[in-house]
């Protein structure tokens, strides 16, 4: 079956611009996670959805970052007024529920120039 997909695979934007990153989870997976990965580091938790609601958004670095999952499936991570420090690979993962392993998408590489 289809795995987690993320679009775009690469995004280059100028400092100060707005970007949206999309995640399509595995069908039927109720939990969806966003992570950010910098070079030489492991994935860093940003936000977790259970269904449509953000169950935990404590990892979002500041209020420029926002994520939605309006129908409990596809999710969009939104970054306003991008900064060069936002450059990283943004990973999405989904799981069948708590206590289940997460399955990751290929990531979106964001570069802010």
């Amino acid at each position: 079956g289809a795995g987690v997909s993320q679009t775009p695979s690469n995004k280059v934007t100028e400092k100060g611009k707005y970007v949206e990153l999309r995640c399509d989870p595995i069908s039927g997976h109720t939990a969806l996670y966003w992570y950010r990965q910098s070079l030489g580091q492991g994935p860093e938790f940003l936000i977790y959805f259970q269904g449509t609601g953000a169950a935990d958004d404590s990892g979002l670095p500041n209020d420029r970052f926002f994520a939605v999952r309006p129908e409990g499936s596809v999710s969009t991570l939104k970054i306003q007024r991008t900064e060069r420090g936002d450059s990283a690979v943004y990973l999405c993962a989904s799981s069948a529920g708590t206590g289940a392993p997460q399955y990751f998408g290929p990531g979106t590489r964001l570069t802010v120039t």
């Binding site: 992570y35 492991g42 994935p43 404590s58 997460q102």
Partner: protein, 110 residues
């Protein structure tokens, strides 16, 4: 402060031998642990997991060991194969959030 640490950034092993990757954690509330494998330009791929009620879980060539008193887990791969060459991340969870180590790059030499 990192709650999950992988202190070896790299490991080189001869094909056919055992690879042992290590991971330490600090939070005693973690109750679920996983290992992921990552190839360049791909997302991490789930490999194997273990619950805190167990101390060992085996799946083919992969075995994960958990030592709760030492807050340490390890992944054993035997026999190692060149296709196992990748970055391996350990992860821990206790509150539906997953905390990852910084990874160990495994190189299996033919």
């Amino acid at each position: 402060d990192q709650q999950v640490k992988q202190n070896s950034p790299s490991l080189s092993v001869q094909e056919g031998r055992i690879s042992i990757l290590n991971c330490d954690y600090t939070n005693s509330m973690f109750d679920y642990f996983l290992w992921y494998k990552k190839y360049p330009a791909e997302g991490p791929t789930f490999l194997i997991s273990i619950s805190s009620i167990k101390d060992k879980n085996e799946d083919g060539r992969f075995t994960v060991f958990l030592n709760k008193s030492a807050k340490h887990l390890s992944l054993h791969i035997v026999p190692s194969q060149p296709g196992d060459s990748a970055v391996y991340f350990c992860a821990a969870s206790g509150d539906n959030k997953f905390y990852f180590g910084s990874g160990t790059k495994l190189n299996v030499k033919p």
